[in-house]
Subunit: 690 residues, 2 copies
């Protein structure tokens, strides 16, 4: 394609988006509010912007407005000093807040708000400070660049969340994540109205909180990588300023090797123990038969209950393989003596004892699916990694529950797949209204086998914004295209908060290439995704451990390739015969780049160990580019591709679909569809969703 | 140009750089060490990397090694946990450090080191912990991606600094810069071996440190934007861990309006005073004739001398316009009574009194050029904004001095211009050896009229790395091409420290465009630079103030355009007839993009207020693109361009050279040269250096 045509294509794209943008005031909210009505005109946001707080003025509200002004300042490039908090009702934004909030944030506190913006001013009213916080985030999302400067459109929004519990869990046990990185993720959570930070603090690979009662927990169980109690308090205060609760999790009786390094007597087999370096489910488990175990836990839970003010205390409770129990004659004798038929019974006995301890210290126990046994009181909450059916089962038994199945962001699923995970589906849809109320919400889970401080943001964002919308917005908000469009906008906005999900990408690629010019590597990496689910473990050539650096291509590429998604869209419109001008040029442009990728990248393979493993992938991508271009030529000529050729090309596609270096070429299905179309095998349905 | 040719051009470029890279082991050090000898082979850096400290082990040294491991981990994508500090001499890197450091770092402490790397291990020896710190930074710069993984080349380096005082001044008075941003800049300083952070803490526009003795200083003089004393101590400790001294500056008797908001009695005219919002030199100045002024300063300096441990105390002393003194009859009477002939004499009297106070509190006074008067003791140090001649004059009089003239990074000069600023030039070159010793070094100065937390990194980096090399490396290290090549490498390395000089660019452009697709805007912004020196103030359509947002194109573009520099290089080789394959294609590719820029950008102008002002610039750039392409066509045809056409095109260039929206199109001279060449006006010298 000549430069001139390419330029014309680009211009027409710009013109088109320009026209679309002018057709309606810009509005890209995520999560979607319950009700929004656009008006006429817009409110200019400039250096004379001011905020007034009327009604109650608890310090948390004042602080929320300060934070809002800082974020608004970052977003529009204006120092916060220039924007004033006043008491005047003539302020640009008037906040009317009826009541303050609880001294410790509770699940279910009112978070609703009403935001009215006209071209002369804005009013945010809410029953509580929490509602104001949510409304201020909506306001920030409404501010865009316009021909008159920064502005928010005239609008009336009435909004409140669908679920009270909207969380993000971060596992800091497997890989330690420093405090400042957690803080910026809390900023991201607040931006999409999540309200629970679930802090997975202990694992086989690390115990991450300073314990003054049992100092060997963090001293021997953390490699020195732990949070001091003062840092914990700092994070909790930071979260509170953003309307976020902090729920600690200390996983027991399994997932607890790191505890046993300092306190081997807690385990069901004699030590000594070392911090676990591998990933997986391991044998060590607490000894549920010794009274000393409960004495220890009583003191420990007491200390942590004082440190973490939240009402809920997560005890994990998942994945006990029972091998240490089976092998310990004393434990076997105890089980016989107490009529505990199997390890499930033994763990239920343990959970019951722990629940009494948690309850004694004023907390409500929360745990993973496995803790659900009818002899535990209805007050406990079940977090389900199994799915809506198990939630429904719990709800029928009278237990409250949270959905995390479908929200595991470490599995590298598409945002669409997370987005369409519905807590009220399956058996949950058939629950009575009272039973449904027991489903409190859900949590995105960031398990940390393969995340480092460098790439964790890119594993959490922007996909967690789609989960946040599922949990906040109405059940019928399910338009995937709209979600992607808004999620991409939100992804850019999240950069103002310091999140590095976008900015860490190119530096990682440069390090991999050992070269500053990474245009060819970027073309390749842009269409790759890490393998899904637990395939990375299963296909590793040597066992992965916590000591393994996370600096390979699989650690740098995004969990979901936007290029591949857009390519699939273009191919779909193309083969359906409904493409707009420019679509074919765009598709050809990409196919050309992929075809040439191998040639451009080859000289770098010999220069970098980290590139070598993707050489076959680059080769496969080149082959896909060539196949796709030939298929397009057939389509353009209106000529049916020969069967032999089609067979050959589909074999190339099959080859390209195979995981290599734990990576997938995500544009293979799109090319496959072009080939099928060229063969006259036009399907009427679009490409299957991931 | 067709896609295929373009791809071929790209490939040949890659091949070329590949061949160059293999010809010699990769080594890109900045600043250049005093002596380096490359050996054969390389040392692999992997998960088994370990460090041993032999010799003395002061906590500062241990901490330096911890920081080194953290930074190495960031740089190669490996958690620091995986690398061990051992006591074994079999460690990968053995550190042999003879002596500890002073409890308060002093100017002139030994910073030399010797680094020996073979393919089996590395040894870093130094007389002090400071030398180890410098050597560890050199080690980090040596680690690159290779075909075997990360590695450092076999090498022997003997290194020590040319000047003892190598500083960066940051003005936090005009715009407040939060602590975390200062911290990452300290990381950047340490990376290029700078050792003094000069903290310009008070200005007409803000007093930025908490004072417990005179709390109205920060309470009324800072808009709430100040550092608490605990934050100051935190920053000093942070700097010390990186071998950096912290020198505070409290500017007096001028530049002090912010003091007078809380304490109007200090001024030479009755108040009340308000925090200054405009930029410039203002009338308010302390009253040098009242004893109460010195009583206040005695207590104040006493408090600050306790807070800041460094030996030096900067009193500013610059730019007193004397108007308040002229207008105050009491001050005039005092001057007559004390035989002070002019305001210079009066300020000298003030300085002498302040020097006695500073000295009484155990500190050495430092001030700008103006404080130099023969009646002050030789112990004071002069910081020169006037140039090497004024330094030489001071040295002859027995005073020590620092050069800052030529190192003002706010003036938007090229790195080359800063780099070639030589402290020992002019009259300083003729000083005796003893006199030369009085020139302690220099400081880059970041004055903050036009910097915000968002763009300050891009104003400081990477150009300050060139200044750091001037101050560390030997005087004859002056190869500008080598400097640019290494500075660009260093610029990318600085990203691992969290500096945002690169990553803040695209988000700022997106905000300006109000659009996610900013390819056309980036093409434009890539060739623009802000106007130089003080032109921004002088050409502002309305007076700039501290309340003015810094979100325009001029705030986003880089101080120095790499594209323009590379374009000028290509044009030079082209018109000299010595171009390599691909040069013309690259030049044509750029000219094409510029020609088409206006067409692509136009639709966005109407969408964003912030783009509108660059519309004429885009138009000029398009015209330059068209001119340049036509000139190239003449050159290609070997045809002399007609005189009338040349005159017309040069008029276009002149038009394009005019500042617009406080921006300069930096490729205008390159296009001019193409036109001149096409007219047969080939000069034999390359384009003039900026």
């Amino acid at each position: 394609m000549s430069r001139t045509i390419l330029a014309a294509v680009m211009v027409s794209t710009i013109l088109m988006s320009q026209i679309e943008a002018q057709a309606q005031p810009s509005m890209s909210l995520m999560p979607q509010p319950a009700h929004a009505q656009l008006g006429n005109g817009q409110l200019l946001i400039g250096p004379t912007f001011s905020v007034a707080i009327t009604g109650q003025k608890e310090p948390r509200l004042q602080r929320a407005v300060e934070l809002f002004l800082t974020q608004l300042g970052q977003q529009i490039g204006m120092p916060p000093i220039d924007m004033l908090m006043t008491n005047s009702t003539g302020a640009t934004l008037v906040i009317q807040c009826a009541a303050g909030t609880k001294s410790v944030q509770e699940s279910g506190e009112n978070e609703s708000y009403r935001l009215e913006i006209t071209n002369s001013g804005a009013k945010l009213s809410a029953p509580t400070t929490l509602g104001v916080m949510r409304g201020l985030q909506t306001f920030l999302q409404l501010v865009t660049t316009t021909s008159e400067g920064f502005a928010a459109p005239a609008i009336v929004i009435d909004d409140s969340p669908r679920f009270a519990w909207r969380g993000l869990m971060i596992d800091v046990g497997r890989h330690f994540i420093p405090l400042d990185i957690l803080k910026r993720n809390l900023d991201g959570m607040a931006a999409v109205k999540l309200n629970v930070f679930h802090w997975h603090l202990s694992e086989n690979q690390g115990f991450r909180v300073e314990s003054k009662t049992f100092p060997k927990l963090h001293e021997l169980g953390s490699d020195g990588l732990y949070y001091t109690q003062s840092e914990v308090r700092e994070l909790i205060a930071y979260a509170r300023e953003r309307g976020i609760r902090v729920v600690p999790e200390f996983d027991m009786p399994g997932h607890s090797t790191a505890w046993f390094v300092g306190y081997p007597e807690l385990a069901s087999a004699p030590g000594p123990y070392e911090i676990e370096r591998k990933w997986g489910v391991f044998d060590p488990a607490m000894d549920p038969t010794r009274e000393e175990t409960y004495k220890f836990l009583d003191k420990f839970v007491g200390e942590m209950a004082g440190l973490f003010p939240d009402q809920f205390f997560h005890i994990g409770g998942d994945e006990v393989n029972g091998k240490q129990w089976d092998a310990n004659p004393k434990i076997q004798a105890f089980m016989r003596a107490h009529d505990l038929k199997d390890n499930g019974d033994l763990q239920a006995y343990f959970n019951k004892r722990v629940q009494q301890i948690v309850s004694k210290h004023g907390k409500t126990m929360l745990g993973w699916d496995e803790i659900l046994r009818p002899d535990l009181p209805n007050s406990i909450v079940i977090q389900s990694w199994r799915g809506p059916d198990s939630l429904a089962q719990a709800a029928k038994l009278g237990y409250r529950g949270l959905l995390s199945s479908g929200f595991y962001v470490d599995l590298m699923w598409s945002a669409e797949r997370h987005y369409l995970t519905e807590p009220m589906s399956g058996n949950a849809a058939d629950l009575t209204q009272d039973e449904q109320k027991r489903i409190l919400g859900g949590e995105a889970c960031m398990w940390a086998e393969y995340v480092s401080p460098e790439n964790i943001d890119s594993r959490i964002w922007p996909r967690t914004a789609a989960i946040a919308e599922r949990l906040w917005s109405l059940q019928d908000v399910r338009d995937v295209n709209s979600m992607y469009q808004r999620m991409e906008e939100e992804s850019l906005r999240l950069e103002w908060l310091g999140l590095t999900h976008n900015s860490s990408y190119l530096p990682m690629l440069r390090r991999i290439a050992g070269n500053d010019d990474i245009s060819a590597l970027k073309d390749l990496a842009d269409v790759l995704e890490p393998v899904k689910n637990y395939t990375r473990e299963q296909t590793a050539t040597e066992p992965a451990t916590s000591a393994k650096p996370l600096n390979r291509v699989v650690d740098a590429v995004r969990p979901e390739s936007a290029t591949a998604r857009q390519f699939a869209d273009s191919v779909n419109t193309l083969v359906a015969g409904s493409s707009r001008p420019g679509t074919e040029e765009r598709v050809r442009h990409l196919l050309n780049r992929w075809r040439d990728n191998q040639l451009e990248l080859q000289p770098l393979f010999e220069k970098s160990l980290f590139l070598k493993e993707v050489a076959p992938i680059s080769q496969n991508l080149s082959a896909l580019g060539t196949s796709g271009l030939a298929a397009l030529d057939y389509l353009d000529r209106g000529e049916k591709a020969p069967a032999a050729w089609v067979t050959q090309q589909l074999a190339i596609v099959e080859q390209a679909k195979k995981p290599q270096a734990q990576l997938l070429i995500m544009v293979a299905p799109g090319v496959e569809r072009l080939i099928q179309a060229s063969a006259g095998q036009l399907a009427t349905s679009p490409l299957p969703a991931k």
